[in-house]
């Protein structure tokens, strides 16, 4: 009996003492007081010092893109720190190039607010907000891809450019013990401001895709932050090359829908690549759009058609197809979305054919 009491008392005393020590330290040593953050030389925010810049900004409803949730492993949350912030940390070096370092680019999840800061962020990030959407419809379009239609409650509106993406906040659920943000391109037209549509492929073991595919039901609430991204439609007269592979078709569909809704007639070709015929989806709508946008040609291409596909269209990867088809690239404009491997392969083809870089827009995922 004595031993038990002694043990409990000793452990409690030691942990109690250490806990006291730590909380005192937290109040005194780690307390930096209120600090000012001046953004783009116009907006000033007062925040509690000591936190990371990323979380200080999120507290003030400024959403910097971040896919890993502040762990320093995605490299998206870059901001330009012009004053304060100290030197760049070794954890950031892998994501910030030497040129960017000279400009003062930091990962906002690693840079801590210990003094007053002056930072610069793209103006459009002020437009980024957090929305609570209602899931209106979930539809299985291929065996691995779900089509989500989300509705904004009441009079809320989202302003985005066709091609941009949002992030879904995947909550804590049975198979994931942490909240994660994951990025998905918007597939719906930018003229439709109350709704967004997403095409989400299943990734085995993926925290967010498992949630979407196996747990999310119609009429559920889904938290979304956005819009983000510098991949979007540009107005010009150049002939368009649109490439979407698998779910990479989503932002291209957003561009096509936007062109349809605004009656923009441009010459162009849309290459929609997939593995087999079963992996192509929403083809009826694409064909319907092509009837309105008369100058857009649609090319479906399969990389691995099976005999059951009865496929008569082009076979092979899009980069090989482009290599054969493209000749004169002087008046072209390209929008590419798909895996980094596919995009790099297409970029190689463009380079070979002297495609002007400023007219190539792409979104790797």
């Amino acid at each position: 009996m004595n031993t038990i009491i002694m043990t409990v008392a000793a452990i409690s005393a030691i942990t109690g003492f250490l806990a006291l020590l730590l909380s005192v330290a937290n109040r005194t040593i780690a307390n930096y007081g209120e600090k000012k953050i001046l953004i783009n030389n116009e907006k000033e925010y007062i925040v509690d010092g000591g936190d990371s810049l990323l979380s200080a900004l999120i507290e003030n409803e400024i959403f910097i893109p971040s896919a890993c949730g502040g762990k320093g492993s995605c490299g998206y949350c870059k901001v330009k720190v012009t004053e304060g912030g100290g030197t760049i940390l070794p954890t950031e070096l892998g994501y910030v190039t030497t040129e960017e370092q000279k400009e003062g680019i930091r990962l906002s999840c690693q840079c801590k607010v210990k003094e007053d800061l002056k930072i610069e962020i793209p103006e459009e990030l002020f437009n980024v907000k957090q929305y609570d959407y209602i899931v209106e419809k979930i539809e299985q379009v291929t065996d691995k891809i779900k089509h989500l239609r989300l509705k904004l409650p009441k009079d809320n509106e989202i302003d985005f450019k066709p091609g941009q993406y949002i992030q879904i906040l995947s909550p804590v659920y049975k198979e994931s013990d942490e909240e994660v943000y994951r990025a998905y391109s918007i597939a719906s037209s930018a003229t439709d401001k109350n709704y967004i549509e997403l095409l989400i492929g299943y990734v085995p073991g993926g925290k967010c895709t498992t949630y979407i595919h196996n747990y999310l039901k119609e009429n559920d609430k889904l938290t979304i932050v956005g819009p983000f991204g510098d991949f979007f439609y540009h107005n010009s007269d150049r002939e368009m090359i649109l490439v979407g592979i698998g779910t990479g078709m989503a932002p291209i569909l957003a561009i096509l829908r936007y062109m349809r809704d605004n009656n923009i007639q441009r010459k162009g070709t849309f290459y929609f690549g997939a593995r087999t015929k079963e992996d192509l989806f929403l083809t009826e709508e694409i064909d319907e759009i092509a009837k309105t946008l008369k100058d857009i040609e649609i090319v479906y291409t399969l990389s691995r058609p099976t005999p059951e596909c009865n496929w008569t269209g082009p076979v092979g990867r899009v980069n090989d197809l482009l290599d054969k088809k493209l000749d004169d690239c002087s008046n072209l404009e390209a929008y590419l979305c798909g895996s980094p491997l596919m995009i790099d392969a297409v970029l190689d083809v463009f380079k070979k054919k002297n495609f002007e870089e400023q007219y190539i827009f792409y979104d790797k995922f």
């Binding site: 031993t3 043990t7 452990i11 030691i14 030197t87 070794p90």
Partner: protein, 196 residues
């Protein structure tokens, strides 16, 4: 208490009783952070720093709190708590007052809380019945030994970056094999001194 000079223990902890290569302790950060010499050196320094002070603290707590109370069997849990609290506290202090040091070591400190080499040294100190000076020498030596092992490994890994490694062995696989080979080499020293 055994009569071995602290200096002998210090060198033994580096070469013959290396924490990684003869006890296989502290493997996870050893594998994860050993891809670059510079960062592994920083991590090694942080480990040495933490080892020195936690060994000292744990020695004092063990001999002046746990033994008088007859609670020696609580050492596992007490040592872990003390290590965790110490690392937390040190991180806060460095972060606030020594920015340059935080830059070099601070960011690695959270990794060390869960480094089993740190707990291992404290427990060996008890098992082997070391005196204060012996424990201190053992702590510093183990830290330097750990640094030596991880920096060597980082050097080798930088060299093999361009080597044709079979696909299945890339990354952790080849690192573990190299660790084994290095351990064999270090075992060669082991007959020279006895420290337990």
């Amino acid at each position: 208490m055994i009569e071995i000079s602290p200096i002998v223990i210090f060198f033994a902890a580096i070469f013959t009783n290396n924490m990684i290569l003869s006890n296989f302790l502290g493997m996870c950060s050893f594998i994860a952070i050993s891809s670059e010499i510079k960062t592994s050196l920083s991590l090694g320094q942080a480990v040495t720093f933490v080892l020195t002070f936690t060994t000292l603290l744990n020695y004092l707590v063990y001999h002046y709190v746990l033994i008088p109370l007859g609670l020696e069997y609580l050492r596992y849990i007490v040592f872990i708590i003390i290590i965790a609290a110490f690392v937390q506290l040190i991180e806060m202090i460095i972060d606030r007052y020594f920015p340059a040091l935080y830059y070099a070591l601070g960011i690695f400190l959270p990794l060390i809380t869960v480094n089993c080499a740190v707990l291992g040294v404290s427990l060996f100190m008890v098992i082997r019945n070391y005196s204060l000076m012996q424990s201190l020498a053992f702590g510093v030596g183990s830290g330097i030994g750990w640094t030596l092992a991880i920096v060597t490994m980082a050097g080798i890994r930088q060299k093999i970056k361009s080597a044709p490694i079979p696909k299945g062995l890339e990354g952790a696989g080849i690192t573990l094999i190299i660790t084994g080979l290095m351990a064999l080499a270090f075992i060669g020293f082991s007959g020279i001194v006895v420290i337990q």
